[in-house]
Amino acid sequence: MLTAFGTLPFIDLTFGDQYRDTGWFGIVITLSLVAFLLYNILRSKKGKDLYIRRIGGLNAIDEAIGRATEMGRPVIMVPGLGGLNAISVQALNVFAHVTRTAAHFSTPIRLCCADAAVYTVAQEIIRDVYQSEGMGERYDQDSVRFISDRQFAFAAGVSGMVMREQAAATFFLGEFFAESLIFAETANAVGAIQVAGSTQNTQTPFFIAACDYVLIGDEYYAASAYLTREPVLVGSLIGQDWAKMLIGSLILVGVIGSTIQMGPFNAKILTEELKDGKLVPTKKPRPMNRKDTFMSHLLVPSLEKMIIDRPKDPNAGGGE
């Protein structure tokens, strides 16, 4: 692979650790996924009407806020425990939509943050929402608050708020860990309608058991496209579907290829194996296993241990 590309005018791939052996495959696949996303974003901007299936949890947002308005109780939103990353930004996008609806009905909101960076961004987003709706005077500075960055102190604080304020609707979207069930059960105890979604697979079952509506897997990331129907977001969603089809095809090709290569009932016997980038004889003949197949090697490069003689830096020894 490296000798096939040779040396480009300004980039010498032979020195690329991540391109050695079959390492280029992961990069090519990732760039393909990126190409799918960008192509579909461009395609959507041409005004094509693209279909998204119904997502129950997101349809329930208006119902939840309406219930809170009728009962005169607040809506509580929790963007999880994670820092400022794609997950919490997506949560804040959904909460901005919730807040826009709540602002129209003058429903009180509470947004509880466990991370100071998320708190800062959330405050700006919520204030912008109120101002863009022409309801700047309804914005309560204390509606967005930082509780604690310790997991169970945050859980205790939010649970206490849910119990004291008797929330009518709760939205738990973001990165959750052990405290997810504490939130869900506490909100259930006060009779709140709950919409939850987490990228942590370990917490999704708890939400499913305790919450009314749950966004599973990439429904979480589809939420902003579903709610706003912005062409860029819908196009990105279609690109994600193309990416999933590519990965599904790779899995199918891999399964069929590996099954053929290993032979029926693991019948093939190996006398040589690939180790540290080199073919070496096995200690004794052994049945071929899935790690010896072409697909496994394609996805897991076997790197030769290399030592490269580089000149020493005469100034090395201390810096800050």
Binding site: I11, D12, F15, D17, Q18, I27, V34, L37, L38, G83, A86, V89, Q90, V94, A96, C113, A116, Y119, T120, D128, V129, S132, F146, I147, D149, Q151, F152, A153, G160, R164, A178, I182, E185, T199, T204, F206, A210, G217, D218, Y220, Y221, T228, V232, S236, L237, G239, Q240, A243, K244, K305, M306, I307, I308, R310, P311, D313, N315, G318, G319, E320
Partner: protein, 304 residues
């Protein structure tokens, strides 16, 4: 003074106390002030392009570091062999610097969070609003923990900044107070909150595991098998029953019906593939989200 790790000099650092070190620090400070003044006085219509450019530049370093040929087997204190490796070295050295900048900004943001807490709870306390007693408890605990925590840390700092190994025989009042507040109270309260989950699991399971539909019945059956298989006594008795039927023959087909085998089959052939499929979707969703944020294409529920 905090202990400082030795790093090989690079574009982003210099030997401590050297003229190059002072020059870089002062230059960075001046550049920051100039950037702040420019941003503050920028016209409103220029703010969006500035934000988009800053976001793109901040992300492009990580993308380049991933795409650019990374130096193979780089040892600290060595020089690059050619132009490609020079760029690779520069990018690799830039990543921890960006991480440090991010951590520094996060530390300042924590101050905003603390300010928010103090404002809300002090207002509630002063105006004797509803539940003001909880605010009093919070503020008292916050002040005590901050005060004793900092005093305890100061008491353990040596003259050169390294932490001293302080044995309990030489503890003073602040050390005991911090130990009581942190290890005695906070850690145990964390444990108590964690243990509440056990009871919440019971109530959630009571509501969830009901025969309402075919899917719920399958969920109930699978959960029952997995839970029983994880109970040592049940698994032992079941295995004894299987062993009595097979006559101790380890190659018998009936061994596949032991509780642990059924549990492993459910986990390996049903649960794990499903979780991996969900993980694929989440991973692609995260990639798409990150790409939209980097290229400033993200237009969520709020105004752009």
């Amino acid at each position: 003074m905090l202990p400082i790790a030795d790093l090989a000099p690079s574009f982003f650092n210099a030997e401590h106390g050297s003229p190059a070190w002072w020059g870089k620090a002062v230059l960075t400070l001046l550049l920051s002030v100039v950037m702040f003044v420019i941003l503050f006085n920028a016209p409103a219509r220029a703010r969006r392009p500035i934000v988009i450019s800053a976001t793109f530049l901040g992300g492009v370093i990580y993308v380049l570091q991933w795409l650019w040929p990374r130096a193979i087997a780089r040892d600290p204190g060595t020089l690059p062999l050619n132009t490609t490796e020079s760029v690779a070295f520069w990018l690799e050295d830039a990543i921890p610097v960006l991480g440090t900048i991010s951590n520094t900004v996060s530390a300042f943001l924590l101050g905003l969070g603390v300010y928010s807490l103090l404002r809300i709870h002090t207002t509630r306390l002063v105006k004797r609003q509803a539940d003001w007693m909880f605010s009093l408890v919070l503020l008292t605990c916050m002040l005590l923990m901050t005060g004793f925590g900092y005093a305890d840390w100061i008491s353990k700092q040596g003259p050169n900044g390294a932490a001293l190994a302080v044995s309990q025989d030489t503890w003073t009042f602040v050390n005991y107070a911090k130990d009581l507040l942190f290890d005695g109270l906070l850690q145990n309260m964390d444990g108590a909150m964690f243990s509440i989950i056990a009871f919440y699991i019971l109530s959630a399971a009571y509501r969830a595991f009901r025969i309402r539909s075919i899917e719920a019945t399958i969920l109930l059956a699978a959960a029952l098998v997995v839970m029983l298989a994880l109970m040592g006594a049940v698994d032992y008795e079941w295995s004894k029953g299987i062993a009595s039927m097979t006559g101790g023959d380890k190659g018998s087909f009936l061994n596949n019906f032991s509780l642990s085998e059924i549990r492993m089959w459910i986990q390996n052939n049903v649960q794990n593939p499903s979780l991996r499929a969900i993980d694929f979707g989440i991973g692609i969703g995260a990639l798409a989200m990150a790409l939209r944020l980097w290229l400033s294409l993200e237009k969520g529920g709020h105004t752009a």
